[in-house]
Symmetry: D2
Subunit: 370 residues, 4 copies
């Protein structure tokens, strides 16, 4: 995949070959339990895979991350929680169907963001209403990685007829009423094809995730890892790629003995090593103790540190490498652009810092967050 990354970056096309490989390797079923044909991976396992993918092909890793978020969140939603919502029967059937699909090669994408609301779930304008046979969903989504290539989209929408912000999730199959508008042409992570999605879709009753309405906001607080920090592993991989290609370039050019080059690489090395530890610590805690306050702090830390580290390391290593590494086609040129995107993806670094500051200072960091 690393060998194809430059090409997909240049064209901005969906990395078909990468996903053919992932599908063939059974990795679309990574998060599905073994009894449904998957690998039964934990969040820590996912993190391991995502770092490796991100180190080779960042955009591919981000699309994969969205798929893993859908399947992982489903696979790991605690049964008790589902039962609290009185949704057990429907939910379990839904979950098994979706995860079995993934294990068989289906690709899922996430359609959460909308223009002007950032990632504030409670502000979602896409709406749904009941029809005779299910629901009608209407609205527009943005930043939908994998748009046009996914088999179904996880869509956050509000109940059109509720005064309260009642936000529900739907898994909307690609097809009529789901139109991709090719708006994505971006600084970095170009091959994610994160286009806009226009929805005027009629879906059946069982597209409502788990048959439960209004659970979206709660889930965001209970399982922030998939909304907040699953990107983090990808950007650790990107940062590692910066180091790897930086070292290669600097040795080739004979610049590796310059004191300032050494200083830049030394500081970059420790930053990347630290970021990886933070992301893996968060992953380990999500795996062992999901949803606890301390685990959630690590989730936010992971997002902040991974996004900032990738961007800062790319900034500094490109400076060490010099103008010759800014030619298009040079891996550092692409990585410089890719690396900048992590801190900008929600939750942005400034938002993470605010959450963590509130938490450190003893306030409720989730208050008015989503």
């Amino acid at each position: 995949m690393a060998g194809r990354a430059a090409r997909y970056d240049a064209s901005g096309d969906f990395p078909e070959e990468d996903f053919a490989d992932l599908r063939a390797a059974g990795l679309l079923g990574l998060m599905a339990p073994e009894q449904l044909g998957g690998a039964g991976a934990s969040f820590a396992d996912y993190t391991d895979v995502a770092i490796q993918l991100g180190s080779g092909a960042g955009a591919t890793a981000l699309i994969f991350n969205m798929h893993a978020s859908v399947t992982g969140a489903l696979a790991h939603t605690p049964d008790e929680l589902v039962r609290q919502f009185g949704g057990a029967e429907g939910f379990f059937a839904f979950r098994d169907r979706v995860l079995k699909g993934a294990a068989e090669g289906a690709l899922y994408a996430v359609a959460m963001s909308e223009r002007g609301i950032g990632s504030r779930l409670s502000k979602v304008k896409t709406s749904y209403e009941r029809t005779g046979s299910g629901f009608h969903i209407s609205g527009a989504k943005t930043f939908v990685s994998g748009a046009g290539h996914a088999d179904a989209y996880l869509v956050a929408a509000r109940d059109k007829h509720s005064d309260e912000p009642k936000i529900s999730y739907f898994l909307v199959p690609a097809g009529p009423g789901v139109e991709v508008q090719r708006t994505w042409d971006s600084l970095g992570m170009r091959a994610t094809t994160s286009h806009d999605l226009h929805l005027e879709a009629d879906v059946s009753e069982d597209a409502l995730v788990g048959g439960i309405e209004g659970a979206a906001l709660l889930l965001a607080q209970v399982m922030p890892q998939w909304l907040v920090a699953s990107y983090a592993a990808v950007y650790v991989g990107v940062a590692q790629a910066v180091l790897r290609h930086g070292v290669e370039h600097l040795r080739e050019r004979g610049l590796h003995t310059l004191p300032m080059v050494r200083a830049r690489l030394g500081r970059a090395d420790v930053q990347v090593a630290a970021a990886e530890l933070v992301v893996r610590e968060a992953a380990r805690r999500v795996t062992d103790d999901p949803g606890s306050p301390e685990t959630n702090r690590w989730v936010w830390r992971a997002k902040l540190v991974a996004g900032d580290t990738a961007a800062e390391v790319a900034f500094s290593v490109l400076e060490a490498a010099g103008a010759s590494a800014t030619r298009r086609g040079h891996p550092l040129e692409r990585l410089y652009r890719d690396a900048r995107c992590g801190a900008l993806q929600p939750a942005t670094s400034d938002v993470c810092a605010d959450w963590l500051g509130a938490s450190a200072l003893g306030d409720n960091p989730d208050e008015a967050r989503w």
Copy 2:
């Protein structure tokens, strides 16, 4: 020009229309004295123009900077210095011819860099030797902004038959033996068309700048402003553009009241204001007291602070602006890439810091520099 910048950035083409405008406005003669049809501008005047150009169209400003370097260095070389080298007659005729050409619309470019030598003039591998009718110049140059569109190129070359590094300048007309290889396809400043130049050119006797051989290294120390710091003004302009487009974007999106956005913009504002002062102070001193040790310190400061400021401000303001500003075509997306290039252009920021540190610590900063 600001309105065309996105288009030229996308295509990577030479900004023909911008140069038609500059030519029409008489700006190619900016540095030529009035008696030769020019504007007789000082370095401070140039700085003023370059900041404004850079604020609208960075790549155009960089090409213009190269032209201004050739014409400005010629126009401002002190007569005494020329006489010291025993080159008065030839030099003054040469100078007048070139500057008159500029005033009439000729565009000059600089062909100094070579692969693997950075900007170390003394390491230049392009060579020259005398022929019956003048000189033969042979070699390859890189990062030649305006390549393919200039009327002549200022080429640094070494005497093929001298054991000492005897480096001379030639003004080589575009034409046979001067071949452009279209290698430029870069992260930022894409419309500079800074392609490679292959030289197997026979030039007449009067192509030797001023009829003086071996003066290149000395000139670098005596007039570092044109080699080191004329870029600086361009990047102050770029940094100002980042602020301007950042404010516009943030107000449009209604993000301007967020405390972290305000903090980022406030700190960017002061950084840009400070960089402009440093660059203008250097320009004022170059104008009033060229070549003095204190003036030269300001020249190196200007280069360091302008390159770093543009890059850092673009980094931070893009983070404030968020993912929506990373779409290609958005001014901040382009400026983010353009702004990164300043610190990488020779003298790089790390080289400037080393020069300034040596100077501050009482050592000779020019020792073994070029």
Copy 3:
């Protein structure tokens, strides 16, 4: 003074000898007009003096700054403004009396801050009420530089009987009812003797500054230089001292040729040079065009950049100098502590960044500021 700085830092005593020298040199009358026996200095002149003082003895320079603020603000208050408030007669007599006093060697201090209100003038709790013969002032002040050694204190107090925040200034002579509580024992700038002041003072009618009540908040917006940025020059001086002593130490120890040392010093050099330009630009504008929106932006920039620069440069140069420079008595040890205080003095750097961000983003930065 530079020679005494270590001693006054160690003891935390008021720098008696320094002020004897300043008095002897006529510098207490710096801001008083010539016809009253002073030097008739502009804000730019003050800045020049303050940089030099700060470079030798930071704490002395800060006390002097407070005195200059009182005398300078009085000397430079535009007559029109006074007339607008209907206070001409009283004000001019008051002003002349105070400035003549300064020219004759009187020292004034400022008693503005109070515990828990930072520098929010509108929150001042110290109150005043009319008595038969003048006013009674009651309250407690903190961070009163020069406390115990000033001849009179400029005190901000609120009208005890007004519901609106009606804040007025009084010049309260040292004496009965003005008690110094020796609380100052600080990380840095130790010799400022910025103790607490307890006030239960009866003052005569003419202690009310200019005979005008309720003008304090307006003055803060109209002449922010004395509240916001007169510190700035002192910290530029401190930053210059860091460079000077850093170079001396590094050469003595033979560390000046280490590449990382050179890089640190080079970057520090340019930061200090830039900060000085910003502070002098602000001073020039205050002198030429006081109170204009653009001038005020420079005032806030000056405060931000000077405080941050001093602290950052001291941080980095101490790191270059190494553990041997952390012994008490070493100038870098003291300067490291002194330099940290600038950004913490109101307006703090974070407050300045917020003000500048609001201004850059087109909002009213003074809204709800004081």
Copy 4:
């Protein structure tokens, strides 16, 4: 101990009470094996203790670190290594004697540094020569934490009669010929009493560590953890204390809801969390796989990240806390000074960055290091 830290900082006295407590708790025997009466701790165990101590009383933790370095390095020197040097018999007896002493309450200090050589072991000027009954050691040491309070000092000295730099270790008992010169009066970590030591001491044969001459340089490369990174844990503790006291101060003052305060605390939180992970990862690897190239990289990373994190976090949190936290006696005032010392202790952060850069770039980082 946390309760006493302010007092010992103010006086600069050795923390007698803290060491009485440590002795009573058996912690002086922490690194001694259980069969000799100790706790048989690993490097990871030590790290745990040092973080906790550092979080309460940094100076005490640093003295303890020196003691742990002596006892830990002895306890963990691999038997094979000793045998390679042909020193088994003598070494094992020596080791047992020293460790048993520690378990019984003896305190050891390290006397390695000398003026003007930093921590370059090969440059040591203190010399030794054989006498009839043992050795005579002559020279001067600096930065000897615990000087005047240790029972014996680990002294690095060179063979006076060898042309090669043959550096050996001696354990020199306090007593005649070992004179403490009270030079320590420092910015931070004041209670370490890191005074100078003047040596004109006659020691018996068995003071030569392990009976082996010339092993010092090799040991530095084989077991860098005790020379390079055992400080690191202390500074993680210091950084944690900064957070703890910062939160306490900010809540008390009601500043905890300010956005910039939250942002500072959030970023500090993640920096401290990351530093702790790096230090613990290094400790885990030293414990499980001591001396391997990958382990040693983590050792250098730990030193760099801990020193920088403590200093940067203290810098930022003090700025959040404001001027009221700069009064002497306030924990943040002390921590600000203490925290600055980590990056300056050898190996300094710049040296660590250079080592890590060389290693990342594929060069031998230990070449010409000691």
